[in-house]
């Protein structure tokens, strides 16, 4: 039998029908044995499907997952992602404006006076550090 109400039965047993459709179907079920059987069958099916036992997770699953998370980069707070680059730029700009002697055209020897660049004093010619320092001084090799 192809009763038009059959299409509503699945949502009916899930309690997902709008109120008026639910009321209409409930009234219909009083007169349609075929739909009543379909409701019973789908409820039985639900019981059958729901009866299969659950899987028991491995005892080590939680700890293993947390351990893996430990090796991931810590999620950066928005302030770290946004402010740190900005503050870094401001620091470098301030040095450039207020203490330009370390960046003059006299060459890299001036850099010795700036502690933070002293490490690069002995960079070999042509190396990345050497090129970098030349660029920031505004000169060329």
């Amino acid at each position: 039998m192809n009763c038009a109400y059959r299409n509503f039965i699945s949502a009916f047993i899930d309690n997902e029908l709008p109120r008026d459709q639910r009321a209409s179907l409930e009234a219909h079920l009083k007169t349609c044995p075929s739909c009543v059987r379909e409701v019973e069958m789908l409820r039985q099916l639900g019981g059958l499907v729901g009866s299969i036992p659950e899987v028991t997770p491995s005892p080590a699953f939680v700890q293993a997952t947390v351990s893996k998370a430990t090796s991931l980069p810590r999620p950066a707070h928005w302030s770290e992602r946004f402010l740190d680059p900005v503050l870094s730029f401001i620091r470098n700009a301030a040095v450039f404006v207020f203490a330009p002697e370390g960046f003059g055209a006299n060459g890299r020897k001036n850099l010795s006076s700036r502690g933070y660049l002293r490490d690069f004093d002995d960079s070999p010619p042509g190396s990345f550090a050497d090129v970098y320092l030349t660029v920031i001084q505004g000169g060329s090799n």
Partner: protein, 189 residues
Amino acid sequence: MTRMNEIEAHIMADVARGDLTAFQTIVELHHKPLINFIARYTGDRDSAEDIAQEVFLRVFRAAKDYQPQAKFRTWLFTIATNLCLNELRDNKNRPRLVELSDLQEQEYPIAAPAASSPQKAAQDAELSAGVRKAIQNLPEKQRIAILLRQYHEFSYEEISRIMGISTSAVESLIQRARQNLKKSLISYL
């Protein structure tokens, strides 16, 4: 927001700050239903744990993006659903059809109620195998929808958010899934 939502929102805020204790709480609360959902979807318990672990790691990485207006469980299962669908698509790993002979007790260590007799135990095992096979034979989206509804009691609205489809599409998927399951399991009804 319900009380549970509030609590999980606070926990997730801690996870977003990299708090591993908070993350462990999330994993402890949700790992069993998540693994069961994935195991029922893929038919494979071992890959289910791998996929579930990946889901939680994605939760950890994306914690800062979590919107507390949505239930955490809905968000968690959205990630899991996308991974399940992509896992099969990327690996071209069609769901393994579970044969009765495949199902050994050690493959699915379960907390099943004690059977009253060996014959009953065998009947229960056969029934379970039949149900698992019927679920595995469903098309992907019908399988996802019926699992979310039948085992995890998500509403149609929640399922629509998880799957990114309309509620009428969810209703249609579940209806068709039930008709297909009925055909497969008619001998048990």
